[in-house]
Amino acid sequence: MKQRLNFSNYIVLLAASAFFIFPMVAAFEFSLRINEGKSYGFANYRWVFAEDGFATNLGVSFRLALLTAICVLVLMVPTIVYLHLGGARWKRLVEFVCLVPLVVPVISFALGVGTAFPTFLQSTVYELSFLYVIVSLPYTYRALDVGLSSIPLLTLVEASRASGASMRQTLMYVIIPTIRTAVNGAIFLAVALSLGEFTLAVLLHWDTFPTWIANVSQGHILNAIALSVLSLFGAWIVVMIFALAPKSLRSNKIQEATK
């Protein structure tokens, strides 16, 4: 599949790399400035780790991400599996519904949530997780739909049923392991969204990691830049580990097996 890149391809890639790398390098340079720019060091980073808000808010964001991931798994996987089995006639409707969040700007959505939800829901930060499930619908739907389309789902399910498995066992032992790549992709999207989401959190008055960064930036600019660098770099490391992990973890074998 590898082809030769021509001259203009190199120019494009070079220009793109410059555009993306320079701001990051610049931010990194700023984050190392101490003593009002007279020297360099990691003091800004040390300050960040020492702050109470760091662990607390990161913790909140991680817990939100976890709940979001669970909701996606429990709600979306069975739903889309069903659409690929007996419920095909509802596929277009569900697909349409999953695209609705794309035409609803998050800020509009946040407004509606603020007035519509009863207090018992509004009194817990975990309401955000349910909203993140909604906002990530277009992406999670697509990831799972593509994954399920690439396997002989019906035969596998029937083989499992005939072997005596209940639908729940079939989901857990057969379907989810078989589309693990797609499930990982969907969960990954939802987690990334939960960890970085700002609009809903700030308009519903919750403190999460992104809103905390915004707070820190009021008055501690260099520390906030250090935080920004950390969050970007952290996310990138995690993603790269996923992407370049050995084959066995990504289970590419499934695609080969079902060719």
């Binding site: 700023f30 739903t79 659409l83 794309l102 007035t115 349910f130 370049l244």
Partner: protein
Amino acid sequence: MSITIAKRTDSLKTGVGPLHFAQRVSSFKSLLPLFPFFAFVAYFLLFPLTFIVRDAFLDNDGKFTFSNFEECFKGVYGHSFFVSIQLSLISAAIGAVAGALIASAIVKTGTKSRRAIAATASVLANTGGVPLAFMFLAGFGSEGLVTKALKFLGWDLYAGSFTLFSATGIVLVYSFFQIPLMVLIYSPALENVKPEWREASDSLGGTKTTYFLRVTVPLLFPAFLSTSLLLFANSFSAYATARAMTSGTLPLMPLLIGNLVDGNVIANQQHLGHAMAVCMVGVSIIVMSIYVLVLRFSKVKR
């Protein structure tokens, strides 16, 4: 289950009416496993949406009114439609073209580097808010590293009226997540273009141009258009970055809505915010409809 069977047998003997009924019963049954999904979406998506629409038509005393919408199109609010839509169009166009160019270079590289680039793009596409603002301030701000470097090379970014807080500046900043998003979503479509087709076209005597116009463009146009639309929606609704960058100096719809409902700047203007929010949904729907029409037209032409 046995009821359905009985109904169906009946209907075959007695005619159309009961069959209709039986079909409806069985179609309702097939909807049952989707109940959790629809219940979830109804409560967490449709329910809040109905509330924005409702509140958009209420005045501060809770009475029905159109005045919020009249207010929407006046003064700074009316102007914000223009600014938001224009900025989003430009941002989407730049993101789409640059992203497509980059994707067409990346698609030629090996599997492993493609995967690494896709992963990186997924991180970049999700940057926004304060971290993104800082990166650009550090890079392209008046004291930024890139600015200084360019000045050293003889190009003063700030010689004209450029600031990062202007519309041009915002477009530049948005490109940082728009371009990766385009690369991420458009690449799979590019990968579907088989090299064999190029060979087939060549063997039939097609030139580079005819191949591009007759094969590549019709093939990729729908994907290009739908991803561009996604970019439009993405910048149109971007709030975190706009807020971090401009602190309210640029009249963008999300910022105005945020100020109306959240800030203490203007009291008692909640319902105007809701009307603006409804308008934003309206704009998105119009853009989506244009997309559907264009797609249908392009299919008919082929």
